[in-house]
Symmetry: C2
Subunit: 142 residues, 2 copies
DNA sequence: TGCTAACATCATGATCATATGATAAAATAC
DNA sequence: GTATTTTATCATATGATCATGATGTTAGCA
């Protein structure tokens, strides 16, 4: 019932890139190792996110992938969408009629769940996933 | 993100059987036509529900499929389960660590959604899906 | 017994998601 | 401009889900 393997990997990958944003472009090689995903397949996946405007890739030495959207503005929906529709509001049992003026008896509740899911992915950002060490800088007593 | 085609078909099929429960066993042929599903594939699908104790099949003339569980006790979860896990509570991005004592920052909200879905399928019954003409028996004035 | 109606099952194929290895293309550094 | 580092892409393979057609099996009935 859940996210495709590719979509999950995309999330892990983007998260890893966000975590290493300060160090410049991140190599597919490293992302693949961290996200536990085959290199070339991940490359294709990230390429898609490039087309979507989420990532930027640069080739050659010191190249790699970078975020084009700041983590706190990048929703999980934006990362997942290209690989699978997050939800649709169609009938849970796939009946065409249910979309029209004669929905089945449970259609309302069903759509309610779809709404909750959509909200979750639409409002949660990559920043929410980052380990958030409360940054207390303790001055060195020496 | 949603139910597999097989699971959706199973729901439509069971609903159709429930609707025609009074007429004795329902033939795969008829169910297939109503549920818009290939005959033999549906046969296999219904067979699985037989093994699960949801349906009973009888062969030969006047044979077909019948419900073994009354519609108001038969949850959608029981119909769907054999074809796909409804939800799991694992990390939305597939990280093993998230299950343990160090869940990611959004794991709680994520599991909340899983709970809602599980409740929906676990508490909604086939009876809830039946067209519910509010049964008012008007005594015949003649 | 033999015919027919029905489900059961088997072998096979189509399609899609995922994966892999080889090769191409681009950017940088020397 | 050549070598090196990196992403891009292509051809192919694998596995799962879904589908189809042929054949097997069981039950009822004349």
């Amino acid at each position: 019932m859940w996210l495709s393997s590719t979509a999950q990997t995309a999330l892990r990958a983007v998260l890893y890139i966000a975590e290493h944003a300060t160090e410049g472009p991140v190599r597919v090689e490293d992302i693949a190792a961290a996200a536990n995903s085959p290199r070339n397949y991940l490359s294709k996946t990230l390429h898609v996110l490039g087309r979507e405007g989420v990532l930027q890739s640069t080739r050659g030495p010191r190249g790699g992938f970078e975020l084009l959207v700041p983590p706190n503005e990048l929703t999980l929906a934006q990362v997942i969408q290209p690989f699978a529709p997050i939800t649709d509001r169609r009938c849970l049992m796939g009946r065409a009629e249910c979309g029209g003026p004669h929905p089945c008896a449970v259609h309302g509740r069903w759509v309610g769940i779809a709404d909750a899911i959509e909200q979750f992915f639409g409002q949660t950002t990559v920043a929410d996933l980052l380990p958030t060490p409360i940054q207390i800088t303790i001055p060195n007593p020496k």
